[in-house]
Amino acid sequence: MQENTTPPVQIKAIRDGFLLVPSPVASFQTIMEFLSQRLTESHHFLKRARMTLDLRQRPFRAEEVRELRRLLLEKADVELVQVRLGEDLRGLLSWAAEQLAVTLSVDQAHQPEAQPVVVRTTCRSGSRFESEADCFILGDVNPGAEVLAVGDIIVFGNLRGIAHAGTRGDRSARIWALSIEPNQIRIADLVAVPPKGSRRGSGRFEVAEVQGEMIQVTTL
């Protein structure tokens, strides 16, 4: 059953030593057995090598790291110098929390603040712009184009495509444009379709915002 395409452990050569990549699905038992066999086979080759453990795929478990380190040292005199972790830090956090006997949490907000996106052309059909903050369009948004922003959308032109402000659920986000006549506008979780046959060329700024449970477009 273990004769799959990928072995439970892969050993790759990197610039300053070797990279040990355990499979994210294999059981720790199989990993240890396979690695132990590999180390016995080639302990001359690997002797005194510097090994990096790659845990970007496999979740972090302190006990496993300890066991692997011991095995490497005993079988082939290989030193474990580094552990690479992926984005998922939950394993590490729960282990650290156990060690310290206190709950740990990571504050996501310390990441650098997202910059607004400024588009200096007409957004044509088929184009899509996404912003982690506000989005400024210096031109028209034509039908078939999509503009999405976590914050507000400000269009210095006609808005005829699809605009979605407050994509993360912020209902206070607003959509500003010289003229709002889109196929559809969305703010947070609300979707609105303009009433049929309404074409006001007010020539002044219009703004769409959530009032009650509805998206309302008003002229400034």
Binding site: G126, S127, N142, P143, G144
Partner: protein, 263 residues
Amino acid sequence: MAGKSIVVTSGKGGVGKTTTVANIGTALAQKGHSVVMIDADIGLRNLDIIMGLENRIVYNLVDVIEGKCRTQQALIRDRKLTKLCMIPAAQTREKDAVQPEQMKDLCADLTNDFDFVLIDCPAGIERGFKNAIAGAHSALVVTTPEVSAIRDADRVVGLLEANLLNDIHLIINRVNQKMVKKGDMMSTADIVTLLSIPLLGVVPESEEVVISTNRGVPLVHDRGSKAGRAFQRIAARLNGEDLPIEDEQHEGFFGRVKRFILS
């Protein structure tokens, strides 16, 4: 002096790309320019039929690109105009038979020998489109006053701009003035505002186009035809002449369009 290579494209099919190429090419040749038209719609060959040259085809575009014949051998001369040539598309091949780089080289070659290289682009925005625009210096986007055609034209303009082809002009085909007046069809002014690219000409809807296509004689040979005249004026403007946009009944309306273009 090196000539200009111009791609005629639209995104949507059936809006009149091939008809436009045939008529503008013929009109330019009538004025004494040397013109070559390339049918880049590999697998769906049409331009030769509209030009009435189907029975003269020996070699085609893919043969030239694969080096099976010299470029000169694939050039088919028009029946009436000696300065007008075309390279037909291959009917039995796929669009993958040509690479954008090869089209670029071919167009560069041809611009040395001809004043105008007109490329008839296939519908769509896939491989064939990328091949057709690879060798072009400028683009003509053809659309009809239909919402779907305009939407596709908008997309194509965006793609052309993304490919750094910034010299783009608009041709609006099959405009029915009666329907525009009644408010049943989008006006040229509305289309130009939406697409925001300069307008090169407006071609009225006409039955003569269908007749001329079926006969294999481009419309510009027929002096009495309105659509033919429109194509002639487009060709003249392409050549740098400053003609006002269509002298239709209502001067004020077209005046507005023109002002928009000049601004």
